[in-house]
């Protein structure tokens, strides 16, 4: 039965995606370790964990897409599950430091010695064993999602209300983890990792292995999500997304369907976080910031929600863009990114909208320059890192306005270009909306 499920899950697209991920999982470490430096194909050491980080983000976005894109639950607290997984992994890594810390205490991590802990808090027990810690990576986010989801879905907290209480959840966790007496290192979080499974976490080979693990974990997530959405359960999830009440009236247990999706999603997010912690080398409470969770939503939206490949593309594209804007100083690269984005918008929603994006992108540096001219008498372009927040803000606005189906939707749109009539029909209001007294809406997929 399981094989049947997997076979059905691996439709053509998913097979391609898993194949590509497998190639990346092997190719990038090979290009990093085997290909000598100086060779144009060589991937430098710093880039490996960076790409690994993107894959973790992609997995987080895929996890969110499972609940948002397929089940209509907009969680604004998914980064919390990611961070909890990362903290569980971080606790394991802290215990592996042993007596090599600054204070050379064999059991207590440095920050506990610093904060005058006499003994290990009870919840740190067991984290010196890798299997226990790895189990906690799955259990802690899963359990939180189960309890939270059980309460919320049972009492039919939906839509905006649910989004807001998920935000409250991650905000509460943010405040809690900032406290020193919670026992997770407070403000500074967990850092200064040494070993993972007995090998040096900083070594190039370990980094390459972690990258491969991230790629394989993402491939596994693709298989799992694909299996779920292609099953009968997946169909019910989409039904819940499109007409929750009607699905309930038809006799489906909507609460259980949502709870299942939510827990699976949280566990996937936790795994992504656990792979993220050793690659970036630190985990601190800022991962719980509500803004982070909202950013995950925009990755998913940019890539295209309600698809398997969309969130992966979205997460990688947005984070690459972020790297170009925040660390690079190349205006040309930034301009190219904006041009490409405008092009996508133009193809998807028409030339006028593409022009609006270009106009907005040009207007901001020009206005900034004029402001500088008026103030100091010299025309100056803003620093690219200052532009990033404008770009991110613009991305949020223009994606929701002009790219409701994301980048992947664009490809689908090309395919159906010939059958425009069908699309026209899909914009008609659904009967459920008419019953509910809601205005006709351009996109009933909420």
């Amino acid at each position: 039965m399981i094989t049947q499920l997997i076979l059905r899950a691996l439709d053509k697209k998913a097979i391609w995606l898993v194949a590509v991920l497998a190639v990346i999982a092997i190719g990038v470490p090979v290009l990093n370790l085997v290909v000598p430096e100086g060779n144009p194909l060589h991937i430098p050491n710093y880039a490996v964990p960076l790409f690994g980080k993107y894959l973790n983000y992609a997995m987080l976005a895929l996890a969110l897409d499972l609940v948002w894109g397929y089940c209509g639950i907009l969680s604004l607290g998914h980064a919390a599950f990611f961070a909890l997984g990362a903290y569980a992994m971080g606790m394991y890594l802290m215990r592996q430091i042993g007596a090599r810390g600054v204070y050379a205490n064999p059991t207590l991590p440095d920050f506990m010695v610093f904060l005058n802990y006499k003994e290990l808090p009870w919840f740190w027990n067991g984290f010196d064993m890798w299997w226990f810690a790895f189990a906690m990576v799955l259990i802690v986010p899963g359990l939180l999602a189960f309890v939270f989801g059980f309460l919320a879905f049972r009492s039919r907290v939906t839509g905006v209300y649910l989004s807001i209480i998920t935000q409250a959840m991650t905000y509460a966790l943010l405040l809690a983890f900032f406290r020193n007496d919670l026992g997770f290192g407070g403000n500074n979080g967990l850092t200064d990792f040494k070993d993972i499974l007995g090998v040096n976490v900083q070594a190039a080979t370990t980094r390459a292995a972690l990258f491969a693990a991230s790629a394989f974990a993402l491939a596994l997530a693709v298989v799992i999500c694909s299996a779920i959405v292609n099953s009968k359960l997946g169909k019910v999830m989409v039904a819940v997304r499109d007409a929750e009440s009607r699905t309930r009236f038809l006799g489906y247990r909507v609460d259980n369907v949502k709870l299942f999706a939510f827990v699976v999603s949280a566990v996937l997010a936790g795994i992504a976080g656990a792979l993220y912690a050793p690659q970036v080398g630190i985990i601190n409470p800022s991962e719980f910031e509500p803004g982070n969770s909202i950013e995950v939503v925009i990755w998913t939206a940019v890539g295209g929600r309600g698809t398997i490949v969309g969130p992966i593309i979205g997460a990688i594209v947005v984070n690459l863009t972020k790297s170009i804007f925040t660390s690079g100083s190349s205006y040309i690269a930034a301009g190219l990114v904006i041009l490409i984005f405008s092009g996508i918008v133009a193809v998807a929603s028409g030339w006028t909208k593409g022009l609006i994006v270009i106009a907005a992108s040009i207007a901001i540096p020009v206005l900034y320059g004029l402001y500088q001219l008026a103030l100091y008498g010299s025309f100056k372009l803003p620093a690219l890192s200052d532009v990033w927040l404008y770009a991110l803000g613009g991305l949020f606005i223009f994606t929701t306005l002009f790219l409701p189906k994301g980048i992947v939707g664009l490809i689908a749109q090309w395919r159906t270009m010939t059958t425009k009539r069908e699309q026209h029909d899909r914009n008609a209001p659904s009967p459920a909306d008419v019953e509910a007294g809601v205005d006709p809406q351009p996109n009933p997929a909420e």
Partner: protein, 538 residues
């Protein structure tokens, strides 16, 4: 022991000397000042007490200088002088008539040394000296200084000061000081009992500390009395503390109400969550700053009334920005509330960055008008004027909004659209216009909230971020479509937060509140005052 007797003699001597004619005093004064420079610490103390007894107003600065170590003895002629270091030399002044006494290098002069015991006595002495001063502020500080040191030797002086005192506040401090001294001295038991009662009647933290300190040294028959006094004060203090926390809670509630009420309007009528709402508050605060800068530059006389200009300016500006947002972005997203949330979040990032570009990332100074500074006491409560005015302002905004919603044509249309958009539209209400006006109104109210918040919070680009989550909590907790829900929500969250704070600390208190809200939503998924309707939920 001899020391004590000497001191007693000195005080008696001093008291005996005090009614002497002024002329004799003037002649003796210089001699008495010179005596400070001679002998050991006991001699110095005696000289000091003699000086104190003159009641001369020149004495406190001299004693202060002695205590601060700026009183010196010139070796050549044994004169006591003030010395102020200027460069490598000391500039000398005569303490008696304030005349210049030339300069000296450090080898020529010698500091008049004091030890800690003497320093304490100097403090008391200065306190005593100023106890009869015509200036009420210095009398009060003198009384407080005596209260702190509680030197039994000061009792006679205190009694005479008490008889002459007319200011009730100073008198009560003196009363307390007297009672404390009596409690410390070897007075008879009845007097002490009365003293304990006096202290207990005072009922504040200082009085409690005095009694707690006295408890250990007190004779056994006095102990129960003192213990009752301590308990009585404790209960009293606890009551005041609860009242004070309630007050803080109401103050926080008013801030929450101001921040959330605009959100509640847009959410209730349009069913969308405006993530850029916090930035409207921030823009309102920056409008206050700009208005104040304009007034400072062009009409400095109007500074005290700057808020009167800032409130309408902030309302208009943020309302216009709000209408522009609604027309430009939000109207394309109706029926997709979750996407509106994303678009407005993006907008909030961009708006913050705009303000950061224009004004810089640092905090801007908004100076409060004079009528909003300072505080006043009511019983054991301390109320700051700015908090009080913000509460008043919040109530006024709430009342005006109620009027707008219930008594104007626009309000009627808004309520109609809230209850049934399609029906309202069928009846000829221009729903797009109502939407734009509603969003403008909500944003304008947020701008006015920004004016209030600029008085108590840092005006920085992140101002709105700090309030947005709390505002959501208030709206979700109170329920939409009903301003009373927002009011009750703000009150419960604000007061709850401040009542939890003393037990759990600020952060844990906030976490508890958040968890309680999450649990509360399970019980009432549409908030306290849910709008009743027959339409099926989406």
């Amino acid at each position: 022991m001899t020391n004590r007797i000497l001191r007693l003699i000195a005080v008696l001597f001093a008291l005996a000397l005090s009614p002497l004619p002024a002329l004799a005093q003037a002649n003796d004064f210089a001699v008495m000042v010179q005596a400070l420079g001679q002998g050991g610490f006991p001699d110095r103390e005696a000289a000091m007490n003699a000086l104190v007894a003159t009641g001369d107003e020149r004495v406190p600065p001299i004693l202060q200088a002695m205590s601060d170590g700026t009183l010196y003895l010139r070796k050549s002629d044994q004169r006591v002088l003030f010395a102020a270091k200027s460069g490598s030399e000391f500039k000398l002044t005569d303490p008696v008539d304030g005349s210049d006494a030339g300069t000296a290098v450090s080898a020529d002069i010698e500091k008049i040394k004091v030890n800690n015991g003497l320093r304490g006595k100097i403090r008391t002495a200065i306190g005593t000296m100023t106890l009869l001063s015509p200036d009420s502020a210095s009398r009060l500080s003198a009384a407080q200084s005596i209260l702190k040191n509680a030197d039994p030797a000061m009792l006679p002086l205190l009694d005479s000061a008490l008889a002459a005192e007319t200011d009730p506040k100073i008198k009560s401090t003196m009363d307390l000081a007297r009672a404390v001294i009596v409690l410390k001295s070897d007075a008879v038991l009845d007097d002490k009992r009365a003293a304990v009662d006096t202290i207990a009647a005072h009922g504040d933290q200082a009085a409690q500390t005095v009694l707690v300190n006295a408890l250990a040294a007190a004779p056994d028959e006095l102990k129960p009395v003192i213990q009752t006094g301590i308990d009585a004060i404790g209960r009293n203090l606890q009551l005041w503390q609860v009242a004070q926390n309630l007050l803080y809670g109401v103050s926080l509630s008013s801030v929450l109400l101001l921040a959330a009420i605009g959100l509640s309007i847009t959410f209730g009528v349009m069913g969308i969550i405006n993530m850029a709402h916090g930035e409207m508050v921030m823009l309102g605060a920056y409008t206050t700053f700009v208005v104040q800068e304009l007034i400072r530059n062009f009409a400095p006389g109007l500074m005290d009334y700057s808020l009167a200009f800032a409130v309408p300016a902030a309302f208009l500006f943020t309302a216009l920005v709000g209408i522009a947002i609604e027309r430009g972005i939000i109207r394309w997203l109706y029926g997709r509330p979750l996407e509106t949330l994303l678009a407005t979040w993006g907008l909030s990032l961009a708006l913050q960055q705009v303000v950061r570009t224009l004004f810089g990332p640092t905090n801007q100074m908004v100076s409060p008008p004079s009528w909003m500074t300072g505080a006043f006491d009511v019983g054991g409560l301390s109320i700051t004027w700015n908090r009080l005015w913000i509460v008043v302002f919040a109530i006024a905004v709430f009342a005006i909004l109620q009027l707008v919603l219930n008594r104007t044509a626009l309000g009627l249309q808004m309520r109609a659209v809230t209850q049934n958009r399609r029906m309202a539209s069928s009846m000829g209400i221009r729903t797009p216009f109502v939407d734009a006006m509603t969003f403008g109104l909500g944003s304008g109210v947020a701008g006015m909230a920004g004016v209030a918040l600029s008085q108590i919070d840092n005006v920085s680009p992140n101002l709105g971020q700090g309030y947005i989550i709390d505002s959501f909590m208030v709206v979700v907790f109170g329920g939409v479509g009903n301003l009373w829900g927002t009011l009750i929500g703000a009150l419960m969250l604000g007061v709850g937060n401040k009542l939890l704070e003393p037990q759990f600390g600020a952060v844990l208190g906030k976490i508890i509140i958040l968890v309680l809200i999450i649990l509360f939503i399970q019980w009432r998924p549409r908030g306290l005052f849910a709008l009743k309707g027959r339409s099926i939920e989406q």
